[in-house]
């Protein structure tokens, strides 16, 4: 009995000592936030620091010792991060919608992610390589598609390994001049950025394969079968229909995609026009 008791006390002391001498301790820093606030912060952060995109997800290369935003949403981790080995990053991690699980592989580090709690974890990667961020808390039907990426580089040349060598920071892909309407091509470029930033790609592919939502490839101008209040009808995918689908996603539902409702997206009128321009190019 005595041995058991001593062992039990040692276990407690061990945990406390690891906080003093160990290098892996869950942080105690949390900020209360709201899903809306955190989404705005992450979008602004990503837009400002984006250097390119990888499979529809923006890529950000943060400065060492800076604050980094990583957002979980149904069903993606955004942005993709390019980190440097042995440098510390203060990661602000939260969710846009429901509870998710941050799981960095293959180092196998796992943390819980809540909506409206900003968890600040200071990570210092100790090995270079390509890492994946898996979601390991059930978050709905697309849970298994929720996988993000973190790249840890030792030297600049390492970027080539991931095809990131030509990525450059550009705040906006197009220079906007006041009072001058943008060309269709510029609008489409802006639309692609909205597509990436807002995470449309988590459900809509642009290569013709259907995922959780219909693919956008060749969608513009197509005739689609939809259901409104259970009644089936055919509509033409035009500007008006796309606008309505974004603003009122559950009004007309494309046949074959009834399972998962599209969420209400926070987008401006201008952004919708850009998305439409982008869709026309696909």
């Amino acid at each position: 009995m005595l041995i058991a008791l001593v062992l039990c006390i040692m276990l407690f002391v061990w945990m406390v000592m690891w906080h003093v001498y160990g290098k892996q301790n869950p942080s105690s820093t949390t900020y209360k936030t709201s899903t809306v606030e955190f989404t705005e912060l992450t979008e602004a952060y990503t837009k400002q620091n984006m250097i390119g995109q990888d499979n529809g997800i923006p890529v950000v290369r943060p400065e060492p010792n800076s604050d980094v935003f990583l957002m979980a949403e149904m069903w993606r981790w955004s942005p993709v991060l390019v980190l440097e080995i042995n440098q510390a990053y203060r990661m602000h991690i939260s969710s846009k919608d429901i509870v998710h699980g941050l799981s960095i592989q293959p180092v196998n580090m796992n943390f819980q992610v809540y909506p409206s709690y900003d968890y600040v974890l200071e990570f210092k990667p100790t090995e270079a390589g390509e890492y994946r961020v898996v979601c390991n808390e059930f978050c709905g039907i697309g849970h298994h598609t929720m996988i993000g990426k973190i790249v840890v580089i030792e030297k600049e040349e390492d970027l080539k390994l991931y095809g990131y060598e030509n990525f450059k920071k550009a705040a906006t892909p197009v220079k906007t001049e006041d009072n001058k309407p943008m060309s269709e091509a510029d609008m489409a470029l802006m639309g692609e950025q909205v597509f990436t930033l807002k995470g449309c790609g988590a459900c809509h592919k642009t290569d013709g394969s259907a995922l959780i939502g219909p693919s956008w490839k060749g969608l513009y101008g197509k005739e689609e079968k939809v259901k409104e209040n259970g009644k089936e009808m055919t509509v033409k995918v035009d500007d008006a229909y796309i606008r309505e689908s974004i603003l009122e996603p559950s009004r007309k539902i494309t046949v074959g995609f009834e399972q998962t409702m599209m969420p209400q997206m926070a987008v401006t009128d201008e952004e919708i026009n850009q998305i439409i321009a982008y869709m026309k190019t696909l």
Binding site: F12, W18, G101, F111, Q112, V134, E137, L211
Partner: protein
């Protein structure tokens, strides 16, 4: 050792028991000598039947889940996979275990104490509520209205009737627990037992007290969540939800532990006439469970935002892990009670003759022994290591977590409950066991199956495989990821283990159903297929420690624990730095 169950059974003649029971409402058991109130017998039967049905539902779902996660088969689609994970969790962890525990509480209070059932009508109301809850929640799940997992973390929302079903079930269970205390009060007033409660009833009382605390937490979280699902409450804070939900989810496992350990002591008594070598210490250990399990939910928040490290470390350990200590005391006291009794029966040669000459052909005995081994070596070691703040980082939400509780709840609790059922069939259902040959190796098969399943899951989790995840090839995602190639081997092992365990459960259910409904009637002690051992004789000479074999086994256990402990901390030290 003055208050073993059979002695209190024998005391009935000297006590005015009959005054409280009308003749015709009870029978005197011709095997044990207990006065059995017929209305409590009916209630025990009903609850036991409901528990077996729940187990059947749970394991059918389990098999489909195993063959979905086993990627070469990948049986179910994503929707049905998540639906059945929810279904399996609820039926296995809640319905099967709690129905069985209610049956156990009625048995331990009414039958063992020779007392009438305080209010049979209320007992049936409790049973009806629980069945209604089971039916309601299960139907809603299968309709696809509650794909939220057992934990149903907000803001995931299920249909209101899902929460209502669980609330009904919990209210029914709470009434059952109150009836248990009612029986104890009658027994105490009418002095139907000796100086103190028999150890097994004492353990069950511990389980009942924890059940009240647990069900209160359950009400605290499920009632607001139910109102939220109806739209009457605006918002349920997700972190608060998780904190309180686990006040139900984890503490309820302590009910299982207390009930299971009680049965371990009982089986020791029934099979070899063993009693705890230090009954005071055993009782104290039960009290430790009540006192130190109150914030068990902290184990589930170790890598969460919102609570500080100081809070986590303190509340998972209370500086000295007193609940763990209690389990270690029992894990020593139960095998040592077998050893001590066996040695007094004369199996005294060497370190382990007591074990090799033990009644292994008695399925209740082998179930209990295997349950102790699995609970300690698989569930216990991983439980302590995964429950430490920092090492939790490398396992949180991975499949190692269900791997851990397959070791505790499935090998520990479920196998123990299956084992004791072999005594309930002749003594409560009054039927002979049909298929004794099969019954002898059913516990072994179950142990091997779940051990394989559980250990594979733990290894897979250590390799990073997430739990509750339909497709670990991430099809349809923007990126893909290949886990360490070793996972293929362990997936296969897990599938094999799951299949073996499934077959074993089917054998057990088959034996139980055929025996109870079609088995030959038991007409006296001659029809008893399992031994009912008399109390072991007192020791002739006292030389040295009573149970050296158990002591040696305990040291082996501690060595295994330390090896796993340092292995896990070594893995942790190899990860990125984080603070």
């Amino acid at each position: 050792m003055s208050n073993t169950i059979q002695e209190s059974g024998a005391q009935q003649e000297g006590v005015a028991v009959a005054a409280s029971m009308n003749p015709g409402n009870y029978r005197v058991c011709d095997i044990t000598g207990f006065k059995v109130d017929l209305s409590s017998e009916k209630l025990i039967r009903a609850n036991a039947v409901a528990s077996v049905i729940s187990l059947l539902l749970a394991v059918v779902a389990a098999l489909l889940l195993v063959f979905t996660r086993y990627q070469p088969v990948h049986l179910l689609n994503a929707e049905w996979y998540y639906r059945l994970v929810t279904f399996h969790g609820l039926n296995a962890l809640i319905f099967w275990i709690i129905f069985f525990e209610i049956a156990g509480l009625y048995l331990g209070s009414s039958v063992f104490l020779n007392v009438r059932f305080c209010s049979p009508k209320t007992g049936w109301v409790a049973f009806a509520l629980m069945v209604a809850g089971l039916v309601m929640s299960n139907i809603i799940i299968l309709m696809g209205k509650a794909d939220v997992m057992l934990t149903s973390y907000t803001p995931l929302k299920a249909h209101p009737l899902y929460y209502l079903g669980i609330i009904l079930f919990a209210v029914g269970a709470l009434i059952g627990v109150i009836l248990f205390f009612g029986n104890l009060m009658i027994a105490r007033r009418e002095r139907t037992y000796g100086d103190s409660l028999p150890l097994v009833t004492y353990g069950l009382m511990t389980a009942a007290i924890i059940a009240v605390i647990t069900l209160a937490s359950g009400a605290l979280i499920y009632i607001p969540t139910f109102l939220w699902s109806l739209g009457l409450i605006e918002n349920i804070d997700p972190a608060m939800y998780k904190l309180i939900w686990w006040g139900l989810g984890h503490s309820s496992q302590q009910i299982n532990v207390a009930a299971m350990v009680s049965i371990w002591y009982m089986v020791s008594f029934l099979t070899v006439g063993g009693t705890s070598i230090n009954e005071k210490v055993s009782r104290t250990a039960f009290v430790l469970y009540i006192l130190f399990i109150c914030l068990a939910s902290a184990h589930h928040l170790l890598t969460d935002p919102g609570v500080s490290s100081a809070w986590k470390v303190w509340n998972t350990s209370y500086a000295m892990y007193l609940a763990v200590l209690a389990s270690m005391i029992h894990a020593f006291a139960v095998p040592s009670s077998y050893e001590s009794a066996q040695r007094r029966w004369g199996y005294n040669k060497g370190m382990f003759e007591w074990l090799s000459k033990a009644p292994w052909s008695n399925p209740a005995f082998s179930s209990t022994m295997l349950a102790i081994i699995g609970f300690g070596f698989i569930g216990g070691t991983t439980g302590v290591i995964f429950g430490m703040e920092q090492t939790n980082i490398i396992v949180h939400n991975t499949i190692a977590i269900p791997g851990h509780f397959k070791g505790t709840v499935v090998i520990g609790t479920t196998l123990t409950f299956m084992g004791i059922t072999y005594y309930l069939i002749p003594l409560i259902f009054r039927r002979k066991i049909v298929g004794m040959g099969m019954a002898r190796w059913q516990p072994w098969l179950f142990f091997i199956g779940i051990a394989l399943l559980s250990i594979s899951m733990i290894v897979l989790g250590q390799l990073g495989v997430p739990r509750r995840h339909w497709d670990s090839t991430f099809s349809g995602g923007p990126f893909t990821y290949n886990f360490n190639p070793a996972v293929d081997f362990f997936w296969t092992l897990m599938m094999l283990g799951g299949t073996i365990a499934f077959i074993s459960v089917m054998m057990w259910i088959g034996i139980v159903v055929v025996s109870v409904f079609f088995g030959p009637k038991v007409n006296g002690p001659g029809d008893m297929q399992l031994t009912l051992s008399p109390l072991a004789p007192p020791a002739k000479t006292h030389k040295g420690f009573e149970a050296p074999g158990t002591l040696l086994l305990t040291f082996i256990f501690l060595l295994v624990f330390l090896a796993l402990f340092f292995l896990n901390w070594k893995w942790l030290a190899a990860t990125w730095y984080v603070k």
